[in-house]
Symmetry: C2
Subunit: 497 residues, 2 copies
C-alpha cells in the first residue's frame, strides 16, 4: 500500500572481509551528489506511516501527510478518465474486438476507441521498442501541440520523448558539461535534480539567487553577476537553467522576464535550459514559453537571436495530468547544431527508447478531447476540477501561512508548491546547531514529529545565506493538515522564542 | 507504422553564427561512444522500408527484415494475454467495477482481476511515483521468484527495479568507475551498451576474448591474461561483465564455467556483473544463475567467497515476454557493502522511480499463472508457442548457415541471436578497404541492399582481429528471409572469390 517514501533502510555487513567497493572508493561524484527530496525526513515519515498502519496509537497524529513531493496520485488526485481508457486499450488491444461491450458496459466513447487505434498504428505494439527519440507519429502530435501553444512551427525531428523530464535534463547536462570546468547557471532555490546531476558530472554549479521579495522573480543582474564571478574563477559558463513556473518557488515569469534571460543567453552564448514542466499550473496571468518568446524576438530583430540554443522540457507528471508513475515527457531542441543533435540522438539510443505506454499517455495529454468530441465533457469537468482544487488548496495554505508568526510567503502563482520563509528565533537556531543540523531541517523534523506532515527544508533546494524556508506541496486534500501546521508553528515559536 | 530504426536524419544549420555547442566542444566522451545497433545500417533499412511503403517497385526485395535488434513485438510476436489483461486493468481500474462484463465480453478470468487488485493495492496508482527501488510489494514477488529459481534466499531490500536492464547496467557502471583509470572486463564480442557506457564514463574497457571454437565459452585464462595486461598498463580492474546467455553469441554457460569466473572475482576482488536478461532463452541444458552458483560455493567452502560482490540484471524485454517497449527490469545486489548500497539508492532516487506499469508487468512475469489457475492453460500455450517458435527459427537459420560457403556458426544454445563467422575472400576485403569500411560492414550493407535483411556487423560488438562476423536475430517469422540471405551470400562469394 505504500510507495515513494521508503528510503534505503540501514543494513549491516554480513562479513568484514574487504570488498572491491566501499564508500571511499566508489565514484566520488555520486557520494558528492545531494538529493533531499527523498532523504532522511522522507524515511522518517514512512516509518511513522508504517507505525500508524500497524496500529500504533502513541503518535500525536493519526495520518502522515506526504507534502514533500509533487506526487498527486499518491494523495487523492484521480487520473483523467480519457487518458486511462485509451491506455487500457493500447495495453490490451484485444479489448478493441468488442467495441459495443466497451461502450455499453464501461462507458468508453468512440473517440477513445479511435485514439487507441491511431496510437497502435503509430507504435505497432506498446511492447516493441520505439524509435529512440519516440514514435514519429507521437512526435508529430507533440509538434502540433507546441505550434498551437506558441503560434510558431515545431519540427518532430527536434523532439525527443523521454522517461519523465528528469531523464531529459540529465541527457542535456551530459552533453553540455565537457569537463570539470564547465559551469551551468542554476537558480537558487532550485529543484535539486540540477545540482545533483552537475555533481554527478563533476561540473560546476553556478548559482544565481532568485528574488524572493519580487515573487521569486528571475533577476538578470544576479545572473550576469554570477557569470562574471564564475568567469573570474576560471569557469566556462555554458548554460542557464530557468524553472518556469518555479520549483520550489511557485513563481511564474512574465514575457519581459523571459526576454531578459534570452538576451543574456544571446550575449554570453549560453544554452537556455527551460524547465517548463509546470506550464499548465499557472494561477495568475498566462504561461509564456521560452520557445514562443525566442521566436517572437527572432522575428522582431532578425539576426540578433538566430544562434540562441534553447531546450525546453515538459512532462506528463505535473499539470492536471499528474501521471508521475508513467515516466513520460519530452524535450524540444531549438537552434542546436545538427551535428550536436546527432550526438544527442546517439546518446539516447544507448538507452534504447522511452517507455512506449508513457509516449501514448503524452500523446493524449498534448491532444486531449476537443469541444464536440464524445469524451470532451467529462474530460473538461475532470480537468477543471483538478485545476480548481489545486488553486483552492494553494490559497488555503497561503492564508494559513499569513496567520503564522514570523512566516512570510509569496502569493501563489503556479507550480505545486509554496516555499515560505520562516524567521526562526535564535534559540531555535542554537538548538539546531547543537544537533548539528541546519535550522530549517530541525524545524521540519519537529514539524513531522508533531504533526505527521512531511515537508522539505529549504536547505535541500538552496537559499540565501541566513534565511530559512521549507517547501510544501498543496496537493493533500482537506484542511486539517494545514491546521496541524499552524498549531505546531505556534507551539514551536512559544518554545523557542 | 514505423519505429525503432529511423536514426537521426541529416539536417543543415539554419544559421552559420557560432553557437555555444558544436561537435568539437560538447562532452567528448559522448562523441567517443559507439553504439552500432541503431547506426548507419539501421537508418538505411528504414529508408528502404519507407520506399517500399511509398510503393517503390525498384528494389530487389518486397519487405525489410529488421534482424538487427532483439525487438520481438516489432516482428510477429504477440504479447502474452495474461500480462496485458492485467495491465489494462491497472491502467484503468474503473474496469474493475464491472467484473462480469470483463469475464463475459472479454474473457478475463478471476485471477486476472485478482492480480490487478493486488497490484493496485501495492502501487496505489500506476500514475504515482513509487519507491525509487520499485514498489515494495513487487520487489517481494521478485524476491520470491529468485528464491524459487535458485533455492537460496533473496531480500527485497537488495532488489532495484529498473527501466529495462540498460538503465541498471548504467547505474552500476557509474558507481564502479571511480576515475579514468578504473577498468571493467568486458567479453568480446559484447553487447555494445557496455563499451558505450564505459566510454561515456571515461573509464577503461578491459576486453577479454570469448572462445568461438568452444561455442563462445568464457575462457578464464583469457580473463586472467587481460587482467595481467591491464594491471601492467596501470588500470585498476574493478569488475567483470559476463553476459549469459550470450549477446551477440548465444552461448550458455555451464555451472563449471560460472564457478571459474567467480573464482577469479574472489581472487582479484572484482565485482561480478552478470547480465542474465536471456535467462529463459536457453535451448540446451539449464540456466544456472550466478547468484545460485555463488551461494552454492559459499555453502561448500565457508569463508572463501563471503566477500564476493555480484550484481545480476534481468529484464521484461527478452525471454518469452518480449515486452521491450515497457522498459521493465531489475537488478539484485549480492554481498555489497550497505554503505555502497545506500549510495546506489541515492543515485537512482535522483531519477525518481522506474515506470510503474513496467513494474506491474515485471510482477506478472515473475509470478505468472500457475497450474490450476484459470489463466494457466492459455498462458502455458502462448508461452510454449513462443519458446518453440524461437527454437525452430534458430535452428532453421543455423541450418541455412551450414549450407553457406565459408560461413561457420556455433550451434544455437540460447538468447535471440546467431553470430556466424564469415570467411571473406581477399577481394571482398580489398573492396571494403577501398570504401574505407570494415569488411563485415561492407558485407552487411551489400546484404541489406540485395535482400532487405538488416543485420549488424561483428565490428559493432568487437571480434578477434582478422575475423568477421555478423549478428542476426532469429525473431522474424517465415523462412523466406533466410533463403534471401543464402542466395545473396552465394552471389557475393561468386563476385568476390
Amino acid at each position: 500500500m505504500t510507495q515513494t517514501t521508503v528510503a534505503y533502510a540501514k543494513r549491516t555487513l554480513t562479513t568484514t572481509q574487504p570488498r572491491c567497493l566501499n564508500i571511499d572508493n566508489i565514484n566520488p561524484h555520486i557520494r558528492a551528489a545531494k538529493y533531499a527530496v527523498r532523504g532522511e525526513l522522507a524515511v522518517k515519515a514512512e516509518e511513522y506511516r508504517q507505525r500508524l498502519a500497524d496500529g500504533d496509537k502513541s503518535l500525536p497524529f493519526d495520518s502522515v501527510i506526504f507534502a514533500n513531493i509533487g506526487n498527486p496520485q499518491q494523495l487523492d488526485q484521480k487520473p483523467i478518465t480519457f487518458f486511462r481508457q485509451v491506455l487500457s486499450l493500447v495495453e490490451n488491444p484485444l479489448l478493441l474486438e468488442n467495441p459495443e461491450a466497451l461502450k455499453n458496459s464501461f462507458g468508453y466513447k468512440q473517440d477513445v476507441i479511435d485514439r487507441a487505434q491511431t496510437l497502435l498504428a503509430n507504435v505497432q505494439s506498446v511492447g516493441a521498442y520505439s524509435h529512440s527519440q519516440g514514435a514519429p507519429g507521437i512526435r508529430k502530435s507533440v509538434a502540433k501541440f507546441i505550434e498551437e501553444r506558441d503560434g510558431f512551427a515545431a519540427d518532430p525531428q527536434d523532439l525527443f520523448l523521454t522517461a519523465g523530464a528528469s531523464s531529459g535534463v540529465s541527457t542535456l547536462l551530459n552533453v553540455i558539461c565537457n569537463d570539470s570546468n564547465a559551469g551551468v547557471l542554476v537558480p537558487i532555490p532550485q529543484y535539486p535534480l540540477y545540482t545533483a546531476t552537475l555533481a554527478l558530472l563533476n561540473a560546476q554549479c553556478v548559482p544565481y539567487l532568485l528574488e524572493e521579495e519580487k515573487s521569486w522573480g528571475t533577476n538578470v543582474n544576479a545572473i550576469t553577476q554570477s557569470i562574471k564571478e564564475a568567469k573570474a574563477a576560471g569557469t566556462n559558463v555554458r548554460a542557464v537553467v530557468v524553472i518556469n513556473p518555479g520549483n520550489p518557488t511557485g513563481a511564474s515569469l512574465t514575457a519581459d522576464d523571459i526576454k531578459k534571460v534570452i538576451d543574456v543567453a544571446a550575449e554570453e552564448k549560453l544554452v537556455v535550459m527551460a524547465d517548463e514542466v509546470y506550464q499548465t499550473n499557472v494561477f495568475e496571468g498566462e504561461f509564456v514559453s521560452f520557445k514562443k518568446r525566442l521566436r517572437q524576438l527572432q522575428k522582431e530583430q532578425p539576426g540578433k537571436y538566430d544562434a540562441v540554443e534553447l531546450v525546453s522540457f515538459h512532462s506528463t507528471s505535473k499539470g492536471m495530468v499528474g501521471e508521475c508513475g508513467h515516466r513520460g515527457g519530452f524535450f524540444e531542441l531549438v537552434g542546436f547544431d545538427p551535428q550536436v543533435q546527432e550526438q544527442i540522438y546517439k546518446l539516447v539510443s544507448i538507452g534504447l527508447c522511452p517507455p512506449v505506454v508513457a509516449q501514448c499517455l503524452l500523446e493524449t495529454m498534448v491532444n486531449p478531447p476537443r469541444a464536440g468530441d464524445p469524451s470532451f465533457e467529462l474530460y473538461e469537468k475532470e480537468y477543471n476540477g483538478i485545476r480548481d482544487g489545486l488553486q483552492k488548496r494553494a490559497f488555503a495554505l497561503y492564508d494559513a501561512f499569513q496567520r503564522m508568526e514570523g512566516v512570510e510567503c509569496q502569493k501563489p502563482q503556479g507550480a505545486m508548491y509554496l516555499f515560505p520563509t520562516i524567521n526562526l528565533p535564535n534559540k531555535a537556531i542554537e538548538a539546531a546547531q547543537a544537533e548539528g543540523r541546519p535550522a530549517d531541517e530541525f524545524y521540519c523534523l519537529k514539524m513531522l514529529d508533531a504533526t505527521g506532515v512531511c515537508a522539505v527544508p529549504g536547505s535541500g533546494f538552496g537559499q540565501k545565506e541566513g534565511t530559512f524556508h521549507f517547501r510544501t506541496t498543496f496537493l493533500a486534500p482537506g484542511t486539517d493538515w494545514v491546521e496541524r501546521i499552524v498549531k505546531f508553528h505556534s507551539e514551536f515559536m512559544n518554545q523557542y522564542r
